[in-house]
Amino acid sequence: MTDFNQDFENIPFMEESSSKKKLILGKRKLLFLGLLFILILGILVLLRLLFGFKKNVPSSPLVAVTPTPTPIFSEEIRPQSLWATDSGILKIEEEIKNIENELDNTDIKEKGLMPPALDWKIKF
């Protein structure tokens, strides 16, 4: 026969109360951790919202983002009239181009020709 030689009466009562205490402390801790988790989550959500908003605000409102235009490599071909190869017209065209160059390069100030700065006041 199994001998139940255990003294139930002497089972320390304190152990039970300490585990309860531990449980109470664990609950508090859990509550604290939960609150901390919610707080961190809240901060993260706030940060996300903040940065997300910032991203939506354009850094420079004056610069309009436009799609990159596709380069056109073929030259625009305009219809040519019968006069396009006329020697008289071609000569006039060349003369006008020469005049244009002359107009752009003509010095109409001639600063290099301005009179020299001389001292005319001789005093003793």
Partner: protein, 267 residues
């Protein structure tokens, strides 16, 4: 024998002179002027130093030194003005768009001024004292302010007007050529009414150009009327009007360019 001798004399003495005259152009005149202006600047520094020394010590040595340096400076000044006037004369000769009579009148006036300063330079050497030298130097100042300066700005203005007139003349030639061409195109039954309208616009721009040139000439005439006006300022105002005239020429030429494009493309 005499003919041969004359030919030898011509080759030895006269030919090099004529070649030298041909070589003397605006660039050569500019080099001469810049060289003399540089000499003047050096002489002026020495004059300032000698004058300060004399005013401070009042000794006979410092006075003699001041006299020498003043003489050197005033002579260099005369030479600078003379060579500068020759630069203007050369530029005027090379400028297109001026009539021969206009060039002759201005060249003569410039030559007269250059001769005056050349003579004055010689006259300065005759000064016996510092006081005499100062008095003689004042003559150059008077001459420059009363006549030379006015002539300088008038010549500069004339050169600019000549340049503008030359460009306007070239545009006018193209207008005439285009008119003839448009007539030819019209005879073939094509519509050239738009090109004709643009041609009228070109002529309008040229009319405005001429008005501006006239305004500028009036402005430069003020130089002789008023002694107290700032001549440089008056010249700059006249030059600014010429810039406006230049813009009209550019516009006129743009119209011509467009007319040719229209004729060529037929759009």
């Amino acid at each position: 024998m005499i003919k041969k001798l004359a030919l030898i004399i011509f080759i030895i003495f006269l030919l090099p002179l004529s070649v030298g005259a041909e070589d003397f152009n605006f660039n050569r005149a500019s080099s001469d002027y810049l060289y003399n202006f540089d000499l003047y600047r050096q002489a002026h520094q020495e004059y300032i130093s000698a004058r300060d020394s004399f005013l401070q010590y009042k000794t006979l040595t410092s006075k003699t030194n001041a006299f020498q340096k003043t003489l050197k400076m005033t002579q260099a000044r005369d030479e600078t003005v003379r060579t500068y006037l020759i630069v203007l004369r050369m530029k005027l000769e090379e400028t297109l768009g001026l009539s021969l009579s206009e060039k002759n009148v201005f060249s003569l006036r410039l030559d007269n001024e250059a001769t005056w300063f050349s003579n004055h330079k010689e006259e300065l050497s005759s000064a016996g004292s510092l006081e005499d030298l100062v008095e003689l130097a004042h003559k150059a100042e008077e001459r420059y302010q009363q006549q030379t300066e006015v002539l300088i700005y008038q010549t500069l203005h004339k050169i600019l007007v000549g340049k503008e007139n030359n460009l306007a003349e070239k545009i006018n030639k193209q207008i005439t050529a285009l008119k003839e061409k448009l007539r030819e195109i019209k005879e073939k039954g094509e519509d050239v009414s738009l090109q004709e309208r643009w041609l009228l616009e070109t002529e309008n721009r040229l009319r405005r150009f001429e008005e501006k040139i006239s305004d500028s000439v009036k402005k430069i005439e003020e130089l002789e009327k008023s002694v107290f006006r700032d001549r440089r300022q008056t010249y700059q105002e006249a030059q600014l009007i010429l810039e406006e005239a230049h813009q009209y020429l550019k516009e006129a030429n743009r119209y011509l360019k467009e007319i040719v494009r229209k004729i060529k493309t037929g759009e």
